[in-house]
Symmetry: C2
DNA sequence: GATGAAAGTTTCGTCCT
DNA sequence: AGGACGAAACTTTCATC
């Protein structure tokens, strides 16, 4: 599915402010509200827009600690993978998780209030039998946070 | 600043859908629109809500490749740190960056269309004189993506 | 794609409890 | 604090060009 310059402008604006009204978007992309809304709905229906989210300040909701956790598994049998990923989905302190290339199998991003809180998360991970090794890398300072995805400027 | 149960309900709802209208939020937290809007504005003004964002499908905007990049620096002099972080801010393929504990100094999340595109990013990083070592870990599959932050259920 | 009209919502200030 | 009212703005659909 193709995105023209106007679509990309709309997406760029919405990444910066997900609550922009259609009227405001229309004005900024130099369209009248009707066609602008048609584009917006199309972007939503095609799944290009997956959803709208609210960014919270982690410090202020007492989740000031972010830890990147590398997990190595004992094996990669289907059952182990399934059980591990199920466990991950059930742990709400784990906010992102990916399988990765390299020496680790999974990279998780975990939030916690403090070390004690974090320790509880690690303990849960250690209890999982398919987990062989856990390495915790604490985020000391966030240099860049949730920057917008760069939309290519080319090709109409 | 204290968050009561209603505040947390509002934040939970808004994390799930950042475009909820005040009227909809009010209904779901069993408040009338007026006090609900007052709470929302307070959450925004106190900085607990940092902003509203739109989630895009990376595949569909041709950014299907995500790479976690660990960077080791030659030194940690103020000038090196400043220049490096400035460079990071200027690279829009780098969507998140943190300093981390452990053997690496920085952990970056980089998006790209494909390997060729990613290679351009790495080349730019390699050109930075304060960078000593770069390790790329490719995200093979995302198991959990941008899950909402877990708000404690306790303490009114 | 633009425009305009009309009905329904939403926001937000004000006033009341 | 929460709730109610009202004015202005916004959304959305529809018909039309």
């Amino acid at each position: 599915m193709k995105l023209d310059v106007t679509d990309r402008k709309i997406l760029k604006l919405l990444q910066q402010d997900g609550r922009l009204s259609n009227a405001e978007i229309a004005e900024q992309v130099a369209l009248s509200p009707s066609p602008c809304l048609r584009r917006l709905r199309r972007l939503e229906q095609e799944g290009i827009i997956e959803g709208y989210q609210t960014q919270l300040n982690r410090q202020k909701i007492d989740l000031g600690m972010t830890v990147f956790v590398q997990i190595k598994m004992h094996d990669h049998h289907a059952a182990s993978v399934k059980n591990f990923e199920q466990a991950i989905h059930g742990m709400d302190a784990v906010i992102t998780a990916s399988t990765v290339s390299g020496s680790a199998d999974y990279l998780l991003e975990v939030v916690a209030s403090d070390l004690e809180d974090y320790d509880r998360v690690v303990s849960k991970l250690q209890e999982l039998k398919m987990v062989r090794e856990i390495e915790s890398n604490f985020a000391l300072r966030r240099v860049k946070t949730a920057a917008p995805l760069p939309l290519k400027r080319l090709s109409d």
